[in-house]
Symmetry: C2
Subunit: 341 residues, 2 copies
């Protein structure tokens, strides 16, 4: 029997369709792999093809925009939003307009063209997370930005247009609706109970156990009760923390171990599926604790996490019409299969 489920964080109904009950082998066929350019702009020696680097990790004393880097961050050559220009907001009849101000950067995660993130060592993955943090801290200084979204698209069906392993950073002058939709129930929960909603969910999931994929001393990985997608997983720090940029070096190392572990599980179970990796963290906080409005902007009731979304099903007419998803695999079954890999 199918179930219609609802969770307190996403606050959206999802249909878990038992009749369809897909198994790992049943999922959609892949289209052809990403077409590779003749010369990859992310390879050593091609630094001149990309926009100039904004940030790089180099330990060999090499010069900017030359080989020798381990992780390299550049502006997106075809940015969705641009950092230059005046921030305008105005009404246009019934509509609202804002100039396309923001930042759009690319994190080249490795110089090795064929190395996927799950092929990297834990130390290499840690450098990627470190680069994310450094760029977030720097972009947060720009007063026009309210949120910084970091994500990684792996595989053509997940939206990647280059095969060379990379992630993207987009800073926006608005707080995205998905973030607001999570912040509101978190704030409500906290104001009633003085507890973090995510912490309560975590505690409950660890107690039940049947949706847990991986549990370390520092991180929990589980398939949410109301997963929109088959094999969807969330990685959360066990200790409450709203802001990803405050995670220290040990934390980054532990997170890297955890990510490598779950990606290896996915790779083995589902034959390297197309995948989105999406960071959820608190919006940029501008005010110092001594400011009288500090409490208004405080989002310490949030809990940063990473969502892993294997792209195995299609978004079709039902989803566009309703905003609800049909997930053909029970999260408990996804978790069991992933645990047992």
């Amino acid at each position: 029997m199918s179930e219609i489920r609802w969770g307190p964080i996403k606050q959206k109904w999802v249909i878990i369709a038992a009749e369809r009950s897909l198994r790992p082998d049943d999922f959609i066929t892949r289209e052809e792999p990403i077409r590779e350019p003749k010369s990859c702009p992310f390879d050593y020696g091609n630094e001149g093809i990309t926009p100039p680097e904004i940030f790089a990790i180099r330990t060999d004393g090499s010069r900017a925009n030359s080989p020798g880097w381990k992780v390299r961050v550049v502006s997106n050559k075809f940015p969705a939003l641009r950092i230059e220009g005046e921030m305008k907001r105005e009404g246009v009849g019934l509509y609202d307009y804002m100039s396309g101000i923001g930042a759009h950067e690319v994190v080249i995660e490795t110089p090795e063209h064929k190395k996927r993130i799950h092929d990297m060592t834990v130390d290499e993955i840690k450098l990627v997370f470190y680069a994310w943090q450094e760029r977030m801290k720097d972009l947060a200084k720009d007063n026009r930005f309210k949120y910084i979204q970091i994500f990684k698209n792996h595989g053509a069906q997940a939206g990647a247009s280059l095969a060379h392993s990379h992630s993207q950073i987009i800073a926006t002058p608005i707080i995205p609706s998905t973030v607001t939709n999570e912040l509101i129930p978190c704030k409500e929960h906290f104001s009633k109970k003085e507890r973090c909603l995510f912490c309560d969910v975590l505690k409950d999931e660890i107690l039940r156990g049947d949706r847990i994929v991986l549990l370390t001393d520092f991180f929990v990985v589980f398939c949410p009760y109301d997963s929109f997608f088959p094999f969807e997983m969330w990685i959360l720090p066990r200790e409450h923390n709203h802001d990803f940029t405050t995670l220290n070096s040990d934390g980054l190392y532990q997170l890297s171990i955890t990510l490598k572990d779950v990606l290896t599980k996915l790779l083995n179970l589902l034959n390297d599926p197309p995948l989105n990796i999406v960071l959820h963290t608190s919006p940029i906080q501008r005010l110092s604790p001594s400011h009288p409005d500090y409490w208004r902007t405080l989002v310490q009731d949030y809990h940063w996490h990473i969502e892993l979304i294997p792209r195995l099903t299609r978004i079709a007419g039902f989803e566009w019409g309703t905003g609800y998803y049909i997930n053909p695999t029970f999260p408990e079954e996804s978790a069991r299969l992933l645990r047992d890999v």
Copy 2:
């Protein structure tokens, strides 16, 4: 320069990314077409392979579940929701559970295996719309259902798993969030101004003209200011009407002319792109006008419409993280290209 836009109906920001400014030829390559089963369950003679028919249009006196039909409606063999069973709602710790009660039907739009909807005559398309209406009226009698979602997936990338032209009907025991999200601003607008929000948008669009694709005496087709997708189009009746099932025979005929016209434009401009066709209409209204709570459930401030979504771009990490879309084509440019086909 990119623009960040917001419209009063969807109330979500969208990034129109000028730097990417894709042209019809630039869009993503298609994967291989849908794999055809050896014997298509939707062809004449195979009526026994599908669940028994719920509704059919037959003019030759042929028997149910045998050839001779023009449009045939059957239960989905792998339903997301089932009509049988008890409607249970209960809390499960922090979560909410509802039994998977609903209806999931398939409208086989033609017996001709290779005929796409844009190959059909206007009269044939009208029969499909008529079947939609008849099934909606019948399903509305079931008190457990609150909304009936009708949609059509055309092409593998749009989620179709069978190539034979068909649409789907899902009746749900909840009002979907996308529908609620449109109903709320409509109700607010109406309560302030005693006018329909959609009617105001329509009037403004017709006046401006640059986002209009097609304008007949009865219907308007336009690319919304805040289109999430390239070449997204909305078809609206020019005369205010909240409920698709009340459209009369002439209206259905005019709608069929309009749909055929815009689908032919899409076909020619974009080489038969994968496409979702999604009906938006008011939730089921249960109370008679004499009931004291009638006004509470009245949704006459809504305006039914059909959304056409060509599936040319990928939903990637940014969209999952933010709930916002990056549209690489200005709606004014989409409309101009479609007008000029």
